[in-house]
Amino acid sequence: MTQPRPTGKTVPLLRIVGLRKSFGPVEVLRDVSLVVETGQVTCIVGPSGSGKSTLLRCLNRLEVPDGGAIYLDGLLVGVTEKNGRLYEMSPKALATQRQAMGMVFQGFHLFPHMTALENIIEAPITVKKQPREEAIRSARELLRKVGLTEKADAYPQQLSGGQQQRVAIARSLAMQPKLMLFDEPTSALDPELVGEVLAVMKQLAQEGTTMVVVTHEMSFARDVANQVVFMDGGVIVESGPPAEVLSHPRHARTRTFLARVVS
């Protein structure tokens, strides 16, 4: 027996077990465990420095965790188990796993030397070896979905922040990931542009995309999330349906945080 697979008939899409991460002497994640079911939206909220970004970055191994395990679709992420020992994955195998997790960054990180369309078709062509025609066809479809049909040939610096973030979402979707990770996707935007990005994310949620979203937008968490996770000091303080965590928090730390955010 190699990997312990849960015995139930369905495996959760994402399972995080006892995740730990330190930067030097600073423990940023301390024994974080979390389960995300297929088709569900999980919103992670918490004060600055609580480890939300680090948790998200550990999921696709932009940050290498110090301990614990991450299972995507029942398979360990970033490591393989052989004869009871863990081995670091080859860069190639890791790259293949990363294709299954799309990531949207606070700062967009579009490729500035490529048009919106080129940004979207880049990975399908170079990584998945998709035929160019086919990649362009799906990219146009994605641009339509995020409401940017007419911006296909615009360069990132010719787009507003909200438009850039929507292209970035389309770029991630083009790899047809099983899971979408969002790290404060609207925090770098002017207030009047936040809505258009949240609308796209809401639509994705309705279509059944599995998403993990770090956000400060409490109304989005309340309306869209199936599960809200409150983090503080590198631990998950509490988690549950938004109606519980956001409206009837059990912990004092959650209440303090929410009181500050809402006011």
């Binding site: 696709n60 932009l62 860069p91 190639k92 790259a95 293949t96 990363r98 294709q99 997790m101 799309g102 990531m103 960054f105 700062g107 990180h109 579009l110 490729f111 500035p112 030397h113 490529m114 880049e122 990975a123 170079t126 990584v127 360069y155 610096q157 010719q158 970035a168 770029r171 991630s172 790899m175």
Partner: protein, 298 residues
């Protein structure tokens, strides 16, 4: 009687006078006129001779060699420099050390010393072969056949350029934000794919001005090859004036050509920079314009 505020606002003020600007300007114009007089009316300049040799066959052949040396040394230097930069930034400590040592060596040895050294390579290694270290060679060549003034010049100039290009390209790569590599990685791109498709294209755009700078400096520094009796622009002129003793007019011919070429290169660089910049520049930190020639001059 004092003017009230309203009157002051509508009165056009008398512009401030700048007598020293006028005096300084006049002085410079005077000096420039004297200099032009010296150039144009000094019989020693022999403008007629300058005109006669400007398009002389021997001079034009030398000009061609200067251009060929510049182009080859830059192309090889940049290619090797890019490889060195990538090695320097890799995780492999052997690659890092090798790249560091190469850069240390070729930045430390003056290009003139290198030219002479490469030209005399046969004294050190009589035959150059490909084989197993400490074992037998499969093929080998006589070093004296391989090393000509031209190949020695290309080696000396391009290897020195490679060391400076490596540092420049490394700075260019590091100026591209880590967000770009992370975005590429999160899409499942390998490090090589990210480098080739995302990082290098952006880095090269930033590097166009310093590469242009280095090319112009290389153009001028190819004149060092006259030490190998390679008939470039300068050495061709030297050969002519050693026969005719028309030293000054021939040096003026050389000067005119170097100025024409470096001006043309400047325009080319601006054109390329402009053509590539439209709508696609990366937000990047400034890259120091390293130029080994500038250091050599200091």
């Amino acid at each position: 009687m004092a003017m009230d505020a309203h009157d002051v606002a509508v009165t056009k003020p008398i512009p401030l006078r700048h007598p020293w600007r006028w005096a300084g300007g006049a002085l410079l114009i005077g000096l420039a006129a004297a200099f032009v007089q010296l150039l144009v009316f000094n019989a020693n300049m022999q403008w007629g001779v300058v005109g006669a040799y400007l398009f002389d066959g021997e001079i034009l052949a030398g000009l061609g060699r200067t251009l060929l040396l510049t182009a080859l040394a830059m192309i090889i230097g940049l290619a090797v420099g890019m490889l060195l930069a990538v090695m320097r930034l890799s995780d492999n400590p052997v690659f890092q050390a090798a790249s560091w040592a190469w850069i240390w060596f070729f930045r430390g040895v003056p290009p003139l010393v290198q030219l002479i050294f490469w030209y005399n390579l046969a004294l050190l290694i009589p035959r150059i072969g490909i084989g197993i270290p400490f074992g037998r060679a499969f093929v080998s060549w006589d070093t004296n056949v391989l090393i000509t003034p031209f190949s020695a010049a290309i080696l000396g100039l391009s290897l020195t350029e490679s060391a400076y290009a490596a540092e420049m390209i490394r700075a260019g790569i590091k100026a591209i934000s880590t967000g770009q590599s992370e975005a590429a990685a999160s899409l499942g791109m390998s490090r090589i794919q990210a480098l080739r498709r995302i990082i290098l294209p952006q880095a090269l755009r930033i590097l166009i001005p310093p590469i242009g700078n280095d090319t112009i400096s290389m153009l001028k520094f190819t004149s060092l090859v006259s030490v190998l009796a390679l008939p470039d622009l300068l050495y061709s002129a030297q050969m002519i004036y050693s026969r005719t003793y028309q030293t000054i007019p021939l040096l003026i011919v050389v000067t005119i050509w170097y100025l024409v070429l470096s001006t043309a290169l400047t325009f080319m660089e601006h054109y390329i920079e402009h053509a590539m910049a439209v709508g696609r520049t990366a937000p990047a930190r400034l890259v120091p314009r390293t130029s080994w020639w500038r250091l050599a001059r200091a």
